[in-house]
């Protein structure tokens, strides 16, 4: 390590123990001025705990933090900000109704007697806007910005607040690939100002593309910090998974060539507010991907099939019979399952046990003979059998969901639906916030489910994931299916189709 470099941040020997688990076991981490430093690690490796310690949200049991060469005691969130460290999470904490400039200066508005001095406001923001968000007026309303631009605005806000090290928590999770590029452009401009960016992500391609150095965490330690130019994807995956031999994708050639011929689900000219004239079908044994940029209608397609959105015209058929899906209740009756994108608020009862979360939808299967009273023994047995088949890692069926990692939480959601022997599984971004190992497990589990005669439909912004795990890929744009590919496919051609470049 070059001694002359005055580091923005050095974190040494951080230990943090939670009841029953050592989250951080002497983690070391440093950030140089003007660099993009990627922090990667499987879920449960200690990434988020490390960030919480640096942010002052968790007190470490041991270890020291130096900012610009001076040891600091960060015991509360305010102290981190005062030391020039800032953290941007996916919810972004921006106000849609305010303008760009107002959002930049929330809590610090130049005002006289409560009346905001707009000119002063614009003045303060001009310089930072020009470098972070070129071409965006300070008076523009936040609602008119894309998600990538909102990230940049959040970063600009931190720069105005004199932050020198900005942590970005999975900034690309909700971005289409075009937007990712825009964000990266701006990040590169920001680091030229000698600000540093810590980029936390699961997407290795992006890490390789944007970062100068990359730190890999496993088991509460930073096991390696490497110059990005000297590494490659395979090495990172090996580090992440503890040198375990790992195939990065499900090999498409191993797929069965003959698929089942039963049409499980059919959409015929389905239109509503978000979709226009969508026709498609799902056969048993298939894994079908839906690609498209944000706003292309890909999530809305799943929501329509699951009964969240009204079908205004057209027909949905399940096993050849036309069905009316007025609500998710109807969809569940038709054995359609749904894995929502936002696991925490839409899929999980975080303060409930694995058993409850797994059995809750199909409770009637565990009713004894008398008056709908639960047969808890059979419930637990069934839950254990289905969670074991998914290789769920938990301390037992009574563990609370919030104590599980993202991948294991997702497994519980899958287990829940498997209790009802679903015909069709709709998965919206099933691998967001899921570590690399669990991601591969999840995708091969979908394959297994399909082999047993169901159909799986996956919406994902991760093209390589779709390409490696699907039999067909439907490409959507402004509410229509504009293209369809069959395996084997080229990632490039799917990508091109999404942007509307291909036929």
């Amino acid at each position: 390590m070059v001694l002359l470099v005055k580091h923005n941040l050095i974190v040494k020997g951080i230990r943090k123990q939670f009841p029953g688990v050592i989250a951080l076991d002497g983690a070391n981490f440093d950030v140089r001025p003007g660099e993009v430093h990627a922090l990667i690690g499987a879920n449960g490796a200690g990434k988020s705990t490390l960030i919480k310690v640096i942010a002052g949200l968790e007190r470490p049991d041991a270890g020291t933090i130096f900012v610009k060469g001076i040891e600091v005691d960060i015991s509360e969130p305010g102290a981190a900000a005062a030391a020039g460290l800032s953290f941007i999470h996916q919810d972004l904490a921006l106000v849609d109704r305010l303008t760009v400039a107002e959002n930049l200066q929330i809590g610090n508005m130049p005002s006289v007697l409560g009346i905001v001095n707009k000119r002063e406001l614009d003045m303060r923001c001009r310089e930072v806007l020009a470098s972070c968000l070129p071409g965006v007026s300070s008076r523009a309303s936040l609602g008119s910005l894309s998600i990538a631009q909102k990230w940049m605005l959040s970063i600009a806000r931190m720069i105005l607040a004199d932050s020198h090290t900005i942590f970005l928590d999975e900034p690309t999770a909700a971005l289409g690939s075009g937007e990712v590029e825009i964000l990266f452009e701006s990040i590169r401009r920001v680091v030229q100002r000698n600000c540093s960016v810590v980029f936390v992500s699961h997407r290795l391609e992006e890490v390789l593309q944007i970062s100068h150095r990359v730190s890999v965490m496993t088991a509460g330690q930073v096991v390696a910090t490497i110059d990005t130019s000297l590494t490659h994807k395979t090495e990172l995956v090996q580090l992440l998974t503890g040198n375990q031999k790992f195939e990065t994708s499900v090999d498409s050639r191993k797929r069965p060539t003959v698929l089942g011929q039963d049409v499980l689900l059919e959409l015929d000219g389905v239109s509503n507010r978000a979709l226009s004239n969508v026709s498609m079908s799902l056969m048993s044994g298939e894994v079908v991907g839906v690609a498209g940029l944000l706003g292309s209608g890909r999530s809305e397609l799943l929501e329509t099939i699951f009964g969240f959105r009204r079908v205004e015209s057209g027909v949905i058929k399940v096993k050849g019979e036309s069905v009316k899906l007025r609500s998710p209740v109807d969809a569940v009756k038709q054995k359609i399952a749904f894995l929502p994108e936002d696991r925490k608020s839409m899929a999980l009862f975080l303060n409930r046990s694995v058993v409850v979360n797994t059995s809750i939808v199909f409770l009637t299967k565990f009713i004894g003979r008398f008056f709908g009273l639960m047969n808890f023994a059979s419930e637990e047995k069934a839950v254990i059998s289905v969670t074991n088949s998914l290789k769920l890692k938990s301390t037992g069926p009574s563990q609370l969901l919030r104590q599980l990692s993202g991948g294991n939480q997702q497994k519980v959601v899958v287990a829940r639906w498997l209790c009802g022997e679903p015909l069709v599984i709709l998965a919206d971004e099933p691998t967001t916030g899921v570590d690399v190992g669990a991601k591969i497990e999840m995708l091969s589990e979908f394959r297994e489910i399909a082999k047993r005669g169901s159909a799986v439909m996956i919406v994902s912004s991760d093209f390589s994931e779709l390409v490696s795990s699907c039999d067909r890929i439907l490409v959507m744009k402004s509410g229509r299916i504009i293209n369809e590919f069959s395996a084997p496919f080229l990632e490039q051609s799917v990508l091109a189709a999404c942007f509307g470049n291909a036929a």
Binding site: S75, A83, V329, P340, S345, M346, I360, V361, F366
Partner: protein
């Protein structure tokens, strides 16, 4: 908050320690008594003696405890009604109105059906019709809530006033079915004798105000406590309350869960009203309207933290404060009823405040500077 260079730090507990479940309510009541004692002292009443009087008149004397149990009987029902809805985050405050309707429905059954029935069937049928009427009174708010998401707070509250005026209309405003035809004095028509229960004498010659319906109320509490723990319905409602959004995305039938919970809640309050019919009133009795046991049920449910068994205890505690407070008014050193009301309020405030200590760990920490 700063205090002598220290900061009060409130941390959410991951798990509530078992001891807190008992200690916090007990300490809350003690604090409430201390605050009430200050009030008493300020108004020139010796606190200790007044408390002893209150204890005697509300709980420990024969007539005190029987009056209290009699008052607690319908209060248990309205408390259960509130707890049942609140634990699913449905804030129905219509127990008052549903109770009136229970009285009306029960009286109707007591007049029309009971004549030809033996008491063994007549009394339950009065209670059942009371329950049906209570449920009917909440049916529209329940439907609006489940289908359109209309706030049940407002709709149930407004219906309380409608119910109140309905009772007034039946007795004072009209000479209809519920009005006693034998006299011009405005009072309700009595139900058949077979639909009435005599008060419990508790192996004495004395006439008490406690009716056997007390056992029905307590059984209801036990039944609910047990059923909601072992049935899939209890399971689903509890989980639903945790995260309605998740429940929706899991395809759980939220319209059914919400409306059924509200209907059961209404039925429970209705039973409370019908208990007046088989018990002390025997008719539609506007005298009941002054008691306000429907609203008191909300307080009881809150005190009991929506636990059905605790509702029984909270109802007895609350009823005792009221009977005791009433008795204090007519003692040698009359204490205004307002003091008893202050005490009730203090108990509730401290009980709810105690929740903070149950859910969170509160510690004093020395304030440190951010950087050293």
């Amino acid at each position: 908050m700063m205090l002598l260079g220290r900061r009060i730090q409130v941390e959410q507990r991951m798990a509530v320690p078992k001891s807190a479940v008992v200690i916090v309510p007990v300490v809350s009541v003690i604090f409430a008594l201390v605050v009430g004692g200050v009030f008493l002292a300020l108004t020139g009443h010796p606190p200790i003696r007044t408390y002893l009087d209150l204890l005697n008149n509300g709980y420990t004397s024969f007539y005190g405890i029987t009056d209290t149990l009699g008052l607690a009987t319908p209060l248990i029902c309205t408390g259960l009604a509130a707890a049942f809805a609140f634990r699913m985050n449905l804030y129905s405050i219509g127990q008052e109105g549903q109770m009136y309707l229970g009285m009306i429905g029960g009286t109707w059954a007591g007049i029309v059906l009971a004549d030809s029935l033996p008491p063994l069937i007549a009394v339950p049928s009065v209670l059942v019709f009371g329950a049906l009427a209570g449920a009917a009174w909440i049916a529209v708010p329940a439907l609006l809530r489940a289908r359109l998401g209309t706030s049940e707070i407002v709709s149930t509250l407004l219906l309380n006033y409608v119910a109140l005026n309905l009772v007034n209309f039946f007795i004072f405003g009209s000479t209809g079915f519920f009005r006693d035809p034998t006299t011009s004095f405005p009072q309700g028509r009595a139900v058949a004798e077979s639909a009435r229960l005599s008060p419990l004498s508790l192996f004495t010659e004395k006439v008490t105000n406690t009716y056997p319906t007390l056992f029905v109320a307590v059984s209801l509490a036990v039944l609910l406590f047990w059923f909601m723990r072992v049935s899939n319905y209890g399971y689903e409602t509890a989980v639903y309350a945790d995260s309605p959004n998740t429940a929706r995305y899991a395809g759980m039938n939220s319209a059914w869960l919400q409306s059924s919970v509200l209907l059961v809640s209404g039925a429970l309050a209705g039973v409370g009203g019908a208990m007046y019919v088989v018990g002390p009133a025997g008719k539609v009795d506007p005298g009941l309207l002054q008691v306000g046991l429907g609203y008191a049920g909300i307080v009881v449910a809150a005190l009991a933290r929506y636990n059905f068994l605790a509702v029984v205890l909270a109802a007895v505690l609350f009823a005792g404060l009221r009977t005791g407070g009433n008795a204090l008014q007519v003692s040698n050193d009359p204490v205004p009823i307002a003091i008893a009301v202050v005490l009730q309020g203090a108990v509730l405030l401290f009980a709810l405040g105690g929740e903070l200590f149950r859910r969170n760990k509160v510690t004093l920490v020395r304030v440190q500077s951010a950087t050293t």
